[in-house]
């Protein structure tokens, strides 16, 4: 059984934790109001003074922050300390226009490192581990985040960064790597490449992996665990809040524990903004309560998720967040039904060994919404029999009907007919003109 790095906080009595969160929130709000013009203005508009926020129950009165706030105030507008106290910038390239950046004080780096050290402890890393980090190093928080956490735990850390799969496999094999950090899709690719290279994963020392930075499914977990012969754990994070390590899975694999002594998670109704109780599905919102360089108050992630506060089998009391169910901005409303592409991805991943490329095409014909799901036919599902191909097609259609609740036209298409982009694949074409 994996250790718990800091049971004082990770297993804290929930009432006590709420009190601690309240105290830290009050101090963060005061610090933010005094130092960040944009947030002061937003609080003033709502008629809220820092002294009105007296504890955790008052969190729901605070105004939200959005990703656009980071763009609009780029680069330093949300810093709450003088830039001389900032020691690091991390950020994302952003798909359009200006990047977003986040500034860290030395203390903020320590907090992030500690969150990631807890994460990796829960996932089996200690001073005897050999950790291979194949997240990119740079502005992206993945590489440095995992690196700092592993180093803090005294593990032997290999800063491979991303790319060059043959070299990754060679190092993994020759250096006796026990723990892998990368995106889940890269883990799948590595697993397949290892098999193709004729290496039996049992010859390797790999035991566990921390996979994040993109949404994945339970089916992908099963596949990664089979291919690499490891335990695959989900991790979550975002640059705006800290980086990877905001939440982490333990050996129970029943959702990711949020580092609640540093970050408060909430679920809100994405349309009304109203706070929802634990167990309900809605938009995930985070508030940092220890970060000083660039605190974020009620930051809307636009990720759809559920939180659970029942104590976990591992002994931790930190709230668990479920796997992300989609994005509020990816969410399609088809014939009045909320459809998340991730649901359809889950179905497709279950039909075969390798996740096929797919495209959702939404259109409106005779004022009726239509959904077409195009699935690329790979060697894994192709058979010489039209009957069996038709059966696969029917099966996908029936699953969509039962899981998502709408009728879809499924079409099998030849590989490489869908657009590929370097980073995130494009999966939706909405042709409706509303």
């Amino acid at each position: 059984m994996a250790k718990i790095r800091d049971p004082r906080f990770e297993c804290m009595d929930r009432e006590e934790l709420r009190k601690l969160q309240g105290e830290r929130l009050v101090s963060t709000v005061k610090h933010e109001y005094e130092n960040v013009a944009l947030y002061r203005q937003r609080m003033d508009e709502k008629g809220i003074k820092p002294e009105d926020i007296r504890g955790l129950d008052d969190l729901r009165y605070l105004p939200f922050m959005e990703k656009t706030d980071l763009r609009d105030t780029f680069p330093y507008g949300l810093f709450a300390v003088p830039t001389k106290d900032i020691v690091r910038i991390q950020g994302s390239s952003g798909t359009t226009g200006k990047p977003i950046v986040s500034g860290y004080t030395a203390g903020d780096i320590d907090i992030w490192t500690e969150m990631m050290a807890r994460t990796m402890t829960a996932e089996g890393v200690d001073e005897n581990s050999v950790v291979q980090v194949c997240y990119g190093y740079g502005l992206f928080t993945g590489g440095l985040g995992a690196h700092q956490g592993a180093t803090k735990l005294g593990a032997l850390t290999i800063p491979m960064s991303s790319g060059n799969t043959q070299r990754q496999i060679m190092m993994m094999h020759d250096l006796g790597v026990t723990h892998l950090c990368c995106t889940p899709s890269y883990a799948l690719y590595l697993g397949e490449s290892i098999r193709e290279a004729g290496i039996d994963p049992k010859e390797m020392k790999l035991k566990n992996g921390s996979f994040g930075a993109e949404p994945w499914t339970e089916e992908m977990r099963v596949r990664i665990e089979e291919l690499l012969g490891i335990n695959a754990y989900d991790i979550y994070g975002l640059t705006e809040i800290a980086g990877p390590g905001v939440s982490y899975e333990c050996e129970a694999k029943r959702g990711m524990h949020v580092n609640e002594d540093h970050v408060i998670p909430e679920i809100i109704n994405p349309i009304t903004g109203e706070q929802l109780p634990y167990g309900e599905k809605g938009e995930l919102v985070f508030t940092t309560i220890t970060k000083r360089g660039m605190p974020m108050l009620r930051y809307r992630t636009h990720d759809i998720c559920r939180l659970h506060d029942e104590k976990c089998d591992c002994g931790r009391t930190f709230v668990r967040m479920e796997r992300l169910m989609g994005r509020t901005d990816d969410m399609l409303i088809i014939r009045g039904v909320n459809v998340f592409p991730s649901q359809i991805e889950g179905i497709l991943a279950g039909t075969q060994d390798v996740m096929p490329h797919y495209m959702l095409i939404v259109d409106r014909v005779n004022s009726q919404d239509t959904l077409e799901v195009q699935v690329e036919v790979t060697d894994a599902i192709f058979t010489d029999s039209l009957g069996r191909l038709e059966a696969t097609k029917r099966y996908i259609g029936e699953q969509i009907k039962s899981v998502v609740g709408i009728k879809a036209t499924v079409n099998l298409v030849a590989p490489h007919t869908m657009p590929r982009s370097e980073g995130k694949a494009k999966h939706i074409i909405d042709r409706r003109k509303l």
Partner: protein
């Protein structure tokens, strides 16, 4: 068992997709000895017997096609009235079903060459041989 390798290629049902795959094979020096298409509204399966299966499969995969190799039975059917009917009668008597069949572009002397995909090729082969029906193997195909 005397079977022959058949290459099945997934094709979308749109203008030019068959021409493209035939051109690719032709330009690379592969001879198409037999071909059939099974299609349904938006896609189809193109089945071919080629002069050099392994090299052709590699080429097709490299070019991004989805491909599967299956074993089929190639039967010399006497080129006379009831020739095919007699062969089918032998197969039917063994309670074997035909999934599909198609014929070669050329024939060999006085026989027509037919390609069979059967529910049980092994038993069919024995029954046909008992009835003096000739079966063609991979080696003979490659020499054609």
């Amino acid at each position: 068992m005397t079977s022959v390798k058949q290459v099945s290629v997934f094709l979308e049902n749109r203008k030019g997709s068959l021409a493209a795959v035939c051109a690719l094979l032709g330009e690379s020096g592969f001879n198409i000895l037999a071909l059939s298409i099974a299609e349904i509204d938006t896609y189809g399966i193109c089945r071919v017997i080629l002069s050099d299966t392994d090299a052709a499969v590699k080429l097709l995969r490299d070019k991004g096609y989805t491909v599967r190799v299956t074993e089929v039975l190639v039967v010399c059917v006497p080129d006379r009235p009831s020739g095919l009917a007699d062969v089918l009668a032998i197969i039917e008597k063994e309670d074997i079903s035909v999934e599909y069949l198609y014929s070669f572009v050329r024939n060999s002397g006085f026989d027509a060459l037919l390609i069979f995909r059967l529910s049980d090729s092994e038993r069919a082969e024995l029954a046909l041989k008992r009835n003096c029906i000739k079966i063609i193997g991979q080696k003979q195909i490659e020499e054609m």
